[in-house]
Amino acid sequence: MRAFTNASPRDVSHAMTLVTDARKANRTVALAGGGSDLLGMMKERLVTPDVFISLKSIQGLDQVKPAPGGGVTIGGLITLDALAHAAVIRERYTVLAEAAESVATPQIRNVGTLAGNICQRPWCWYYRNGFKCLKNGGNTCYSVTGENEFHAIFGGGPSYIVHPSDTAPALVALDATFRIVGPAGERNVPAGEFFTLPAADASRENVLKDGEMLASITLPSARKNVRSTYHKVLDREAWTHAVVSAAILLEMEKDTCRSARVVLGGVAPIPWRLPEVEKLLVGQRVTPDMAAKAGEAAVSGARPLAKNGYKVPLTRAVVARTLSGMTREG
């Protein structure tokens, strides 16, 4: 790795001071939670920050606490392991616990943070192998005419990466709000507005500005009779990012769906919400037939590339299968 300075801030405001100080000295900065992925990228020299701000030294930003209004606020620096095992998350926001525990491996989950998982850079093999592309200052997406087996079937263009996070689709499904803290202050952004389509700005995956960090995530109060789950399809049983995944939340009244959230991972540059599928399910019993219809609706408008056409039937099956699994008797 290129030489850099590690800085371990005491608290958020110290972190922000470190950011502004670095800027004043014309030094580039990277912010990290667990640091695993960022260190890997630095070893490949994909990013070469002068200052590495390791946020895990900050106390108190790694817990799950009750939020005013009945929901919970989760510190962005909570490890994925702690999040997956937090009782209130497992019981009331199951999709998030399942998403957190599906990430990578136990070793990575023991240090990887929720904020880090949400803000993770793409795992597109062109980007990770150092091709100069839209994600790192270039002006091309190599996947378009290249090896696009794992790239986007929705929302792509001019970049076709898929968002690599498992927790992100779950958080969109949960209508989470993200609290962003930066040198200029703080702001709250709904999860559904946090992620950036390449058509808006291909160089980034989310709205964080330079020097900003994702400090906490607030989930609204969990309604009664809600069941939720995260279904991840991946090659191998560990490490690999989702080929297609589904974060689904159903609010049931007896066996009828009152409201639904259906958000896909692995298929688009952002967590891909399916409002048409959600509308389809409202007021319906989720029978196998209904699940199949939802699967069909899920892939309407999909625009596969030359090598990722299989993601269309796969997405259809994942949505149908997940819905059926959530409402099966017994």
Partner: protein, 932 residues
């Protein structure tokens, strides 16, 4: 979106009460202000219960600090990217990848490494269950298991797998690790009887035989003689070697698949403080003889000298992405890496070609002047061919003729230990510490390439973390390290990253196979024709052949295999170099023929399998029919095989597949020296390094048996050319047969000496040396086997799960059923990976590999690995040491074919191109009616 300044007070007030307290580590000491790069910070951490204070650079990883600065080398670096688990340590009790943590973050925290486990019951179970093979992943597996047992004292097999799924093992197939962890939970504390319990599957160590009598030492389950070293972090691998004044080296590699190097300017690199030497093609003209040999005849020294397509340590032009261009030696690895960035290279890109069939078309870029068809051992540009009878007559005599194409991908050995070399000169004598399976071969190669006498080269390999074929002979890394050491006047450690190991060493050649098969209507083979293409990369490091036709009894055969140059990573040895590819191709083809004839594939095999080598020469012993019949019965073939492939209703479909093998077990030359002293203690000197197969132990068992003494009365001396005689090198499944036989002969000679002279007295010793070169006259010696696989395919999600796997093998007499079982399981698991996941994907426009490394290659983890059942059928043909036949490669060879045939039986669609990925299955089945 309102923004507001956050005051410190507001922030603290906002934190409120915690609902749950996440398990938080003790406070990290926040630094008051960041220091300038390159400076060092003092940290204090507790390692294995002791406080340690050291000065670290910010960029040092925790694993680097532990290994190089605290001297705890038990924790290994497998990939340095958090993709393999070898570096797992416990940080405040939780398993983490120490390669992905900075040392500075460990300030004030507690680290436990393998060295902190002291005679832990878990370690005893690992030894008892033969969990570690090469041992390189073992420390990491132990730490993950330890963390699990700390919180879950009596884990189930599933819990063990889940806890350890972040730890890859390439040797073992995982079953024994899981068994060991469950046993540790069951047998908490106290010594235990040495018995493999097997979680769930009724697995006994008794070999299921037969006709051969029992021996005293051989044939009984025996712990590896170095199992304890491998389980305690005490085994010293090449990368653990630290010499005074040692420098670190890094290699600059070509970003182009084909390019002329116009100019290299290393002046800025040389000027960087701490850089001691820079080499490139400009100042280093060393030839790497083993890197390119006409015909791929690896073990032939004469051919290496006359090979036209010479491969240097540094070539110009460079012919694949990853080819070495320059190398730097510096005071530490970070300075060496920085120096690489300062080397300026002007390339003139040249046209390139990636696909072997494309490379043979007129107009394709010529990688070598004579064209892209790689020449044979006589420097003739002709394909490899074999012929028996006349295939045209055969097809004419057939009732049905079938044609089809099959293909296999490049798969990498992916051994856990990445390539490394430590080279040191003492005046004109060179010592290299390098992970080679063949210390003698490596020494010969180094001497020849550097132009020095072999006596001036010492090769040491005490422990090696696997190779599966890519660590026999020498490697360019060894030469580059040696040259740098000479130039710099200091020892040099050259480390390859995992990516470099994937693209800079070699892997299994990809193939395209065109079959034409003629049969009678009752399924009797009349003719087999194979036209094949193997992608060798731009240098010929092995034969490029495609085996499999010889498996069948057939009057007319014709093969034409073209080993073709391409601008990709070089292809060479990987566990049965020519075999898994061809066996997949031809046994899929034949399985398909059987299906089209409505024949049970087992019946088709029994009808058409080889009964004599080449349909002419008898085998020294033959058990192929027994392997197949016994296996089919034990597997319940009739129950599991669907007579109508794809007939299971619903999206979840099961099916069964079978494959069989006949594979070389021939005799050959090797050496052994055995010494006895006045105390009656024996030392067995053999040139083995034990790549993970247990060769040290096997040689010990053979010596003990022949000498008539217990294993505890002898020591095996290995892994050092200064102390050990020639050995054939641990590849090609030859060590037990060839070096083992030399041990037998040396033991016999020694016994004779003892009978004549009595045991020595005082300081005298008796020494016996043997260098036999036995041959088999008039017969062919083969090992036989059959694999039976059941899979469950989710037709909608494209997922393939192996639900039952039975491997039946006749490896002659089994020397050590404990280690033999481990070998078979490991090979079968690798075969499943080759069938379903592994590939090296290239970007066609840039000629760049995209999926190098454990993550990209999708190497199987604990949760991917099924339980593998093993049946050994023993035979003793009176040859080899006590009738031992080959084993090392045996279980990889038939595995992909059996898995692919099972997939066909489950889904009714023939998948003809490996790997059979999810994408391919979903694409093949999409749109088909799936009845609920």
């Amino acid at each position: 979106m309102a923004t507001r300044r956050v005051s410190r007070r507001q922030f603290l007030e906002g934190t409120g009460t915690a609902l749950t307290v996440a398990a938080v580590a003790p406070a990290l000491r926040a630094q008051p202000s960041p220091s300038a790069p390159g400076t060092r910070t003092s940290i204090t951490l507790t390692v294995n219960g002791s406080k340690r204070t050291l000065e670290v650079e910010d960029r040092w990883t925790l694993v680097e600090a532990l290994r190089d600065h605290i001297g705890l080398t038990g924790t290994k670096i497998g990939c340095d990217r958090g993709e393999c688990g070898a570096c797992t340590v416990l940080l405040d009790g939780k398993p983490v990848y120490s390669c992905s943590q900075l040392a500075i973050w460990a300030d004030g925290r507690a680290v436990q490494t393998v060295e902190g486990l002291l005679n832990d019951p878990l370690q005893r179970e690992f030894v008892a269950h033969d969990a570690p093979q090469c041992g390189y992943c073992t420390s990491g597996q132990l730490m993950s298991a330890k963390a699990l047992l700390n919180t879950t004292p009596h884990p189930t097999a599933d819990q063990a797998r889940a806890a350890m799924t972040g730890n890859i093992c390439r040797c073992s197939g995982y079953n024994h690790y899981v068994d060991a962890v469950v046993a540790a939970g069951n047998n908490a504390g106290g010594p235990r009887a040495f018995q493999a319990s097997g979680s769930g599957s009724a697995e006994s160590l008794a070999v299921q035989t037969s006709t051969i009598g029992a021996l005293t030492t051989i044939g009984h389950a025996t712990h590896r003689i170095d199992a304890v070293e491998r389980t305690t972090g005490k085994a010293t691998y090449s990368g653990d070697v630290m010499l005074p004044g040692m420098l670190y080296a890094r290699v600059l590699r070509s970003p182009h698949p084909h390019a002329r190097i116009v100019r290299i300017d290393a002046s800025k690199a040389l000027a960087l403080p701490g850089v001691k030497a820079v080499v490139s093609n400009e100042n280093c003209k060393v030839v790497w003889g083993a890197g390119s040999i006409s015909g791929g005849a690896q073990y032939n020294e004469e051919i290496k000298k006359i090979t036209k397509h010479r491969r240097y340590a540094f070539n110009n032009p460079v012919r694949f992405v990853g080819e070495p261009v320059a190398a730097v030696a510096a005071v530490d690895r970070h300075t060496a890496e920085e120096a690489l960035q300062l080397i300026a290279v002007d390339y003139e890109p040249l046209p390139f070609v990636l696909d072997p069939e494309e490379a043979l078309k007129p107009g394709a870029p010529q990688i070598w002047p004579e064209g892209n068809l790689s020449p044979n051992a006589r420097n003739e540009n002709v394909p490899i061919g074999a012929k028996r009878g006349n295939v045209d007559d055969g097809f004419a005599a057939s009732d049905r003729v079938f044609e089809d194409r099959y293909s296999t991908s490049f798969v990498h050995n992916a051994q856990m230990e990445p390539r490394v070399c430590v080279a040191a000169w003492d005046a004109d004598k060179l010592t290299v510490y390098t992970p080679t399976g063949g210390v003698a071969n490596c020494r010969t190669d180094m001497a020849r390439d550097l132009g020095i006498p072999p006596e001036k080269v010492r090769v040491v390999c005490r422990y090696m973390g696997g190779n599966f074929g890519n660590k026999n002979q020498n490697q360019d890394a060894d030469l580059i390290a040696a040259v740098l050491a000479k130039n710099a006047g200091a020892p040099v450690k050259l480390e390859l990253s995992r990516k470099e190991d994937f693209i800079g060493v070699h892997g299994r050649w990809p193939t395209a196979q065109y079959y034409k098969v003629g049969v009678k209507s009752d399924g009797t083979l009349q003719a087999i024709q194979l036209r094949g293409y193997s992608g060798m990369g731009p240098y010929r490091k092995n034969t490029g052949n495609i085996a499999g036709v010889e498996l069948y009894q057939c009057p007319h055969i014709e093969t034409s295999i073209s080993p073709v140059y391409t601008n990709r990573t070089v292809s060479a040895n990987f566990r049965g170099p020519e075999f898994p590819q061809g066996f997949f191709g031809i046994q899929s083809m034949m399985d398909d023929v059987a299906a089209k004839l409505n024949m049970d594939p087992v019946e088709f095999i029994l009808k058409n399998m080889t009964r004599k080598a080449g349909d002419q020469t008898p085998y020294t012993s033959y058990s192929l029919d027994e392997c197949i019949r016994r296996g089919a019965e034990a597997f319940e073939w009739k129950k599991r095989w669907r007579s109508r492939p794809g007939s299971d209703s619903g999206p979840i479909k099961r099916g069964a597949g079978v494959s069989f093998m006949a594979f070389r077990a021939g005799l050959g030359r090797s050496s052994a020296v055995i010494r006895v002293d006045a105390k009656g203690r024996y030392a067995v000197h053999v040139g083995v390094t034990d790549v993970g197969g247990g060769a040290k132990t096997t040689m010990g068992l053979i010596a003990a048996e022949e000498l008539g003494v217990p294993l505890s009365q002898l020591d095996v001396v290995w892994g050092d050319t200064d102390r050990c005689p020639y050995s054939v090198g641990e590849s090609g499944s030859r060590t037990t047969i060839m070096t083992g036989y030399a041990v037998v002969e040396a033991a016999r000679d020694l016994k004779k000496q003892i009978a004549e002279k009595g045991l020595p007295t005082g300081d005298n010793v008796l020494i016996a040396s043997a260098n036999p070169n036995p041959t088999v006259q008039g017969k062919v010696r083969s090992t036989f086997g059959a694999h039976f696989v059941e899979v469950e395919v989710d037709a909608e999600l494209g997922r393939v799960r192996v639900t039952k796997y039975l491997a039946v093998h006749d490896c002659g007499r089994i020397m050590n059923p404990l280690t033999a079982r481990s070998q078979i399981k490991g090979g079968a698991t690798m075969g499943i990976g080759m069938a379903l996941h592994e590939d090296l994907v290239y970007d066609r426009r840039s000629g760049s590999p995209l999926s190098a490394g454990y993550y990209g290659a999708r190497v199987a983890t604990h949760r991917d690995a099924p339980e593998i059942e093993v049946i050994f059928i023993e035979s003793d043909d009176g040859l080899g040491p006590f009738g031992a036949k080959s084993m090392g490669e045996s279980s990889k060879v038939p595995s992909p074919a059996a898995v692919a045939n099972a997939v066909f039986n489950a889904i009714g669609v023939r998948m003809k191109d490996l790997p059979i990925t999810r994408e391919k299955i979903v694409a093949a089945l999409a749109g088909r009616e799936v009845r609920a």
